[in-house]
Structures are given as C-alpha cells and as structure tokens.
Amino acid sequence: MLLAIWLAFALFPIYWTVATAFKTPIDIYQGPKYVPFIDFHPTVMSWERLFGPQNFSFFKDFANSLLFGSMSALLAVLLGAFAAYGLAQYRYKFGFYKNDDIAYLLVSQRFMPPIVAVLAIYITYQKLSLLDSRLGMILAYTAFDLPLAIFLLRNFFEQIPVELEQAAAIDGYGKVERLLRVVFPLAAPGLAAAYMICFVFSWNDFLFALILTFDNATTLPIMITNLNTQMQPMWWLLSAVGIVVMVPPVIVAVFLDRYMQRQVLRGGVR
C-alpha cells in the first residue's frame, strides 16, 4: 500500500510529462487535463517540431551530452580502476598519509560544492583555450567523476581474493595482463556501477555546462533551459525533450544491469 502511494508520487510527474508532450498549447493552458482522447486530443505537434526542421540545437546538444557522458565515464572508470586497484592491493605511505587517508582525500573532493571548482576551471580553461570545447568538457567531467569511481571501485577490488591475481602471476602473466584478464573482469559489477553513476552525473549536469560552454559544447540541460527562458515557455516541446532526455540513462542502466547482477566471484576460492 505504501509502495503504491510512493509509486503514484514517483510516476505521476513522468506521466504528466508524457501527457503534456502530446497536448496542444491550448489544452495545456486550459487547466489540468489528464486523460488523452477524453480530456484532450493528442497531437504530435511537439514531436514534429523536435525532429523536423528546427531553430534550436537539439541534435547537436544531444550528441554532445551523449559524447561527454560516455567518454568521461569511460575515462573515469578506466583511470579509476587502476587507482582503486592500487589502493586496494598495495600499502602506501606518504608521511602521515596511508591508504585510507589517500582514499578519503580523494573522496573529499566531492564534498566541495562544484561551484567552487567551476570558477577555477573557468579561468584555467580560458588560458588553455578549452572553454566551450568538447575536449574540455570531457576532461572536466572526468576529473569530477574520478574520485567517486575510485571510492566505489576500491571496495570491489578489496573483495577479490589476492590469490586469484597471484595464480595468474604464477601462470605466467605480467602485471597489466593480470589486471585486464583476471582482476578487471572480476570487478565487472563495480566497473558497471561506476560507469553508470559517472554517466548519469555528466548527463544530468547543469552547472559545468552552464559556465564552461556557450555555443559549440552545450548540452541538453542547457538547451532545455534556453527553450524555457529565451522564448515563451513551450511546455509541449519541453516535455518532448524531457522524455528524450530520460531515455539514454535508462538504456545504459538496462544494458549494464546484466553485469551488475552477476555474482562474478562465485566458485573461485573455496
């Protein structure tokens, strides 16, 4: 029962967005109308506008969002995996700093409000001509995703029995091959989860894109805001874009879910 109430709260905004995307402007402004064909006549007006000839940058921004999300998540997971592996399997000591302190230091970067970092990044990017560039955005998101990826993956690597990597060494494999052929496959659920979280972060991000981009490298959240503020609020079109924006993270989640569900460590050690 509670679940049903919660579900209603959670799903209603999504339903409302879907319904609005098929309404005409008049139906939208005439007060609440809920049920298609009874309350209002569905139209595909907003969808024609979205995918037809347009005066806004939907396709470019969609491609940008997809590129930034997938590339920065890939980089963060790849670099994060090596860092997390190191923190899990070796004992470091830099003065007072041991493994746990290093890990904490890394994660603590996420405690800081991103707005603090963004201003510094803005000035740095200005000097490096990385403002409004795709490379710059990928790097910014990677840098911001990395601490979380390391934190998440470290736990996964710690769960992998050290004997498995030792066995691979005795079987004749060098360090990098051991990681790629034995250790990383066994951390697949962690890698998938980290990729998912990193992807969603950059996909949803508004702040970085707002400050660091203005034309070439803008993303979907920026486009949606522009639609709202530059013209009259076109709710029908906004809703259609909103639905499209929901789709890629769902696809990523469904695809990666297979890896997250797998019990990869079963049957390895007694």
Binding site: Q166, I170, D171
Partner: protein, 380 residues
C-alpha cells in the same frame, strides 16, 4: 623439472616474523613435505618460491638458477592454492588452458597442442566431462582437481602444493592422497607439498621438512623423523594420538636406572642408561607413544603402575584409553575392543626400548647432539 634450494630465506610482515630462516635442498624429482601447524610459515615459503611473495633475505634457486629477482611469471613453477583460486570468470577449460596461453609459454604450446594437452590432463584427473562447466557448478573435490589440472598442464620446473586436499572430506582425501602419490611418480616432477597433517606427509613424501615458527627444525625421511624426532615439538607433531610427554626424574633403583615421576616408574633400557647416567641434571621429559603403552586389567608379573581409566574412545580396530596413574595422565592406544570403562583399574607399563628422552628445558632429544640434523633421506 629441476632441483630447488633455499638458503636462509627470511620474510617479515609488518609485525609478524613469517620466516626466520628457511633452508633446505630438494633434489630433482623428489617429493618433499613441508610439515608444520598453521602459522609455521608453509604458505609463505611456497609463495616465496613461486615468486608472489618477496623474501627479505636469503637465496632461492630453481635448477641452480638464482630466482630472487625473477618475477613469478618468469619462474615456471606451479602452485595449487589452499583455496584453489580458480578464475570464476572462466570455464574449467578456460582455467586449465590459461597457463598455456601465457606469453612465456605461447611458443611451446601452440593453440592446437594446448587444447590437446588440457584434454590429456583432464582425462588423467577424471574431469574431462567437466571442461565446459563454470567453476561454481563444481563440488569441492572437482574444484580441487581443476586446480591440480591447471598446475599440471604447464610441465612446471617445481610443483608446489599448499594443503591441496585439507578441505576435502575424509574419504575423498584418502583417495586423492593415493592419486597424488601416483601422479607424482608418473610425472616425476620435483614437488614441495605443505601440510599440517603428519600422516599425509608420511604417506606422500620422500623427505619431510618440519617447520616451526618460520624455522626448519628437522629434515629427514618420514621414518627417520617419526622414529628419531629431534625434540618434543617434532615428537608431538608426528603421531596420533600425540606422544605422551611425562616430566620425570632419573633415579637409580638397585643398580639399574629408572625414570620416576609422580607415582609412575619406567625401567630404562641398558643401552640408553650409560648416556643418561652421565647427565648433570636428573630432570628429564620422557616420551612414549600411545601405541607403545601396555595396558593390562590385572597386575602383570613384572609389576607395574596401577591407574584409573578416565576415558575410553573406541576406534574400531583399536581403542584409545586415557589413564590417570599417580599424578600423570597417560594416553594408550591398544588393540581390539576393550571391556574397560571409565573408573576401571588398570596396570600400565612400557617397553624400555620404546622410551624417548628429552631435555626438560630445551625439549631437545637426549641422544641427538645439538646441531646435528638427520639428513639420511635428503639425498637418495
């Protein structure tokens, strides 16, 4: 195949000294058991030889070649881990072919012969039908065979096994013990086998190395180590039930020597008497194996010490008795079914020639001068 030499190998983990000084020689094709309780340094020794642990000092030579600075992947050893360490992301076949696809061996085992080799080994081990299975679909015994197979396919210079059968049930353990012995004889590979179980070590090995707290304390053939233990530790480690160690004193009884303590008296064999007579201290620890303790329900002709049975453990063909005689507690293993019950009165005695004598303080066996280690079986 190759010989193996360890010289003064040391290893310290943060606060724990794992290996204090491990030295031994293992000849080409020999089967050596590393015997010791958990924490004695068996696993660290094996991992140091395999190259996945780096010793702090000492030398390790495989086939005469110093391997201290050669990484694990360049040593061509095989290690069967105590927990098997199968790769859960691969099938049984994937696990077994993995060492053959390694860069170091890719030349030697081209794709086709690698497959052939895996089938060959799988057949020997009786797991040919499991090759397509995933590791989690296997029973403990099957996993153990796969781990063994993965080690065997590569034709290693040295074959290392870390308690490979200690987690199997008793029946399977017995079968695998016989099978390991046969395999090792057939292949003739130099083998180092770590185990806490003395019976396993005696059944399998040509030579036993006894480890204690990271130190080699005795090396010898199974019978030599069993019959001539260097000290109370080794005597206690080999044999089940454990040897009786009784604190006694050497006394002269009408011209003959006897060991006396807390109401128990054992006659001493003339051949040992001379050595014991010369000793300054008369305090001594007397060892007698439970199987050498004689128990009779009536007083024997030669006399003896009476005691009370406090526990009876029937074991089928034999019975283990715990007898309290005077202030001493003596465990005896006697043949057949016994009609004795707790509180029965019995007389115990020993054959004088079956007694062991140890220094009370150091635990060293009296007959063996310090520093001399029985290496009779170390080279055949």
């Amino acid at each position: 195949m190759a010989s193996l030499q360890l010289t003064g190998v040391k290893k310290r983990y943060e606060s724990v000294l794992a290996l204090a000084d491990v030295s031994f020689d293992l000849a080409d094709g020999q089967f050596m058991a590393l015997l010791g309780p958990s924490g004695a340094g068996k696993t660290t020794t094996l991992k140091s030889i395999a190259g996945v642990e780096t010793p702090d000092g000492g030398e390790i030579r495989i086939g005469g070649r110093l391997v201290n600075d050669i990484p694990a992947e360049g040593r061509n050893t095989a290690l069967v881990f105590e927990n098997y360490a199968l790769y859960p992301n691969m099938t049984v076949y994937g696990n077994m072919v993995f060492p053959l696809k390694a860069p170091a061996r890719a030349e030697k085992f081209r794709a086709e012969s690698a497959t052939q080799r895996v089938f060959e080994v799988a057949r020997t081990l009786g797991i040919a039908s499991l090759l397509e299975r995933r590791t989690w679909e296997l029973s403990g015994g099957q996993r153990q065979r796969v781990a063994l197979g993965r080690a065997l396919v590569r034709e290693p210079d040295v074959f290392l096994m870390d308690e490979p059968i200690s987690h199997l049930d008793a029946k399977l353990r017995f079968e695998m013990r016989a099978e390991l012995k046969r395999l090792q004889r057939d292949i003739g590979v130099t083998t180092l086998y770590a185990t806490p179980d003395y019976a396993e070590a005696m059944a399998l090995a040509d030579v036993i190395v006894v480890l204690r707290e990271g130190r080699v304390i005795q090396v010898g053939t199974p019978t030599a180590v069993f019959n001539r233990p260097i000290d109370t530790y080794v005597a206690h480690l080999l044999g089940e039930p454990h040897i009786n160690l009784l604190e006694m004193e050497i006394q002269s009884r009408s011209g003959r020597l006897a060991a006396v303590g807390q109401g128990v008296e054992f006659a001493i064999h003339p051949s040992q008497a001379e050595l014991l007579r010369q000793r300054v201290t008369k305090l001594i620890t007397v060892g007698v194996r439970p199987s050498e303790v004689l128990v009779s329900p009536t007083e024997p002709d030669g006399g003896g010490d009476s005691g009370t049975v406090i526990a009876v453990e029937p074991r089928g063909a034999t019975t283990v008795l715990v007898v309290r005689a005077g202030g001493q507690q003596v465990v005896a293993k006697v043949g057949g079914e016994q009609r004795l019950r707790p509180d029965s009165i019995v007389w115990i005695g020993v054959k004088p020639e079956s007694l062991y004598f140890f220094e009370r303080e150091s635990g060293a066996r009296v007959e063996v001068p310090h520093g001399e280690i029985d290496a009779a079986g170390a080279s055949r």
